[in-house]
């Protein structure tokens, strides 16, 4: 925020796509989602993914590597809305107080 007028692109153009990643919204969270892999369909058979699809903050990470799947949250951005927990068909996600 210390840039002078001639050190920033003209007219407010933001030339780095998706640089909002530099702004962490995780601090907004009052509750955090916690994932239990036991009954999770993604972990079981790589299906469902509703938590990933519906997450408004792109904070669910479904990773598939060498035929094994893992699940994690990006707490840097997760605002703790609880949509993932609400939409989980197997109740694998619980919201816990920060």
């Amino acid at each position: 925020m210390s840039e002078k007028f001639d050190e920033i692109p003209m007219a407010g153009n933001i030339i780095e796509p998706g640089n909002a990643m530099k702004y962490k919204t995780g601090g907004w969270r009052a509750q955090r989602p916690v994932h239990n892999p036991e009954n999770c369909l993604w972990i079981k058979n790589g299906t469902c993914g509703r938590c990933w699809i519906f997450c408004p903050d792109m904070s669910v990470r479904l990773v598939e590597k060498d035929n094994s799947r893992s699940y994690e949250y990006d707490y840097d951005y997760c605002k703790g809305c609880g949509i993932c927990a609400n939409e989980c068909p197997t109740d694998s996600i619980t919201m816990e107080s920060e």
């Binding site: 002078k4 007028f5 001639d6 920033i8 003209m10 007219a11 407010g12 153009n13 933001i14 796509p17």
Partner: protein
């Protein structure tokens, strides 16, 4: 720098054209990519003529017949944002409806050419000429060039693209002609061959366009921490205009032998009283000056073309030596110290130790005729004010009172 040579006479087309038609021809030759416009008197001929060129396949332009002037300027911003050469036209109420987007166009640094047949604002509704619409947009960030003739309108429209698209400028340009007085009067216009115009203008080279391979965000929210810096950029770009304009006009002069300057000076060198006016009033003023000079009165004329940016130093130099500057202007700023043009001139002269008396007359509102007699009346008043050493901040002339 490529060498520019005068276009030979046999390559020049001479036609009798109205101001609107002259602008339409200039737009046609400028190879405009997108023209978005809405009809409004007295500008409509520009769009009608252009649509006829389009209908006959004489232009390669997407014409967007928008549902409002607000959308006209909005479509222009969108088209300009992806790198197209863009133009629109309007007047009066239509220009007023665009107002919000005029600021966006300038702030987003869109080099749009906006031709205007200047017309009074409502109410009462009135289709005739004054400069209320142009003055209403004076702080929008548009460059403003007011023309006196069809020829000048043609020339200026061509140059406007080069000026707007100049990388030191990147600002929209308003090219104004007086509604009906110039827009509908047929005058002799010399037109360049298409190839000469194409060579002169080239193709727009956009800076930071919207491009899927280089995805930028345009028009974000910028608050207390950044907004001001963008205004600083914009203001500096505006003050890059005189230099760019002179360079472009010099090239145009080589091509055509014509130039119009930021303003036109007529017999000002030894003048006691200098009439300062814009657009078509400049012609009348010169005729009045000639007649009065025959009677031994030292009258000169400055016909201002570039209102934004206001050529402060140059105008100060041009009129600073006179005893009085008599301003004739076709706009009012209700409740202001004086009227828009006088505000500029008085501010410009303020730092002079010995300054001319500035006498401001608001004339011609709603198309009220401004005949030579009105100028003479103004001169007589100015002479009286000179004797008293004092003049009113402004007054109206030509109104029944």
């Amino acid at each position: 720098m490529t060498t520019v040579e005068r276009v030979p006479k046999d390559k020049i087309t001479v036609e009798g054209l109205t101001g609107d038609a002259a602008i339409a021809h200039a737009l046609k030759q400028s190879d405009v990519d997108v023209l978005a416009a809405y009809p409004i008197t007295p500008q409509t001929i520009i769009v009608e003529d252009f649509q006829r060129f389009a209908a006959d396949g004489e232009v390669h332009t997407k014409v967007i017949p928008v549902e409002s002037e607000h959308s006209a300027m909005s479509a222009c911003v969108g088209a300009s944002a992806v790198g197209a050469r863009v133009a629109t036209a309007s007047a009066s109420a239509g220009l007023a409806l665009m107002w919000e987007i005029l600021y966006c166009a300038a702030s987003m640094r869109m080099p749009i050419v906006f031709t205007v047949a200047n017309r009074a604002l409502s109410a009462p509704i009135n289709i005739h000429n004054d400069h209320s619409d142009g003055m209403g947009m004076r702080d929008s960030g548009f460059i403003q060039l007011y023309c006196q003739s069809s020829q000048e309108a043609y020339d200026t429209t061509l140059m406007a693209f080069k000026l707007a698209e100049d990388h030191d400028v990147l600002l929209p340009v308003m090219v104004g002609i007086d509604g009906f007085i110039v827009s509908h009067n047929v005058e002799r216009v010399e037109m360049l061959p298409d190839e000469a115009v194409q060579k002169f203008l080239g193709v727009r080279v956009p800076v930071q366009p919207l491009d899927p391979k280089n995805p930028i965000t345009m028009g974000p929210l910028a608050l207390t921490d950044y907004y001001f810096e963008f205004k600083e950029q914009q203001d500096r770009a505006m003050w890059n205009v005189p230099k760019a304009y002179k360079r472009i006009e010099a090239e145009f002069k080589k091509l055509t032998g014509r130039s119009h300057g930021m303003f036109e000076e007529y017999k000002t060198k030894d003048a006691d009283i200098i009439i300062l006016a814009m657009s078509s009033m400049g012609g009348t003023a010169k005729a009045v000056a000639d007649v009065l000079r025959e009677k031994g009165e030292k009258i000169g004329v400055v016909r201002l073309k570039m209102f934004r940016p206001f050529p402060t130093k140059e105008i100060t130099k041009a009129v600073g030596g006179a005893k009085a500057v008599m301003i004739f202007e076709k706009a009012m700023s209700f409740g202001a110290v004086t009227s828009p043009l006088a505000l500029e001139v008085k501010s410009a002269l303020y730092d002079l130790e010995k300054k001319p008396l500035v006498v401001d007359f608001v004339v011609g509102l709603g198309g009220r005729d401004v005949p030579p007699e009105t100028f003479v009346e103004g001169i007589e008043k100015t002479k009286k004010y000179l004797e008293k050493g004092k003049a009113p901040m402004y007054e109206t002339l030509g109104v029944r009172k």
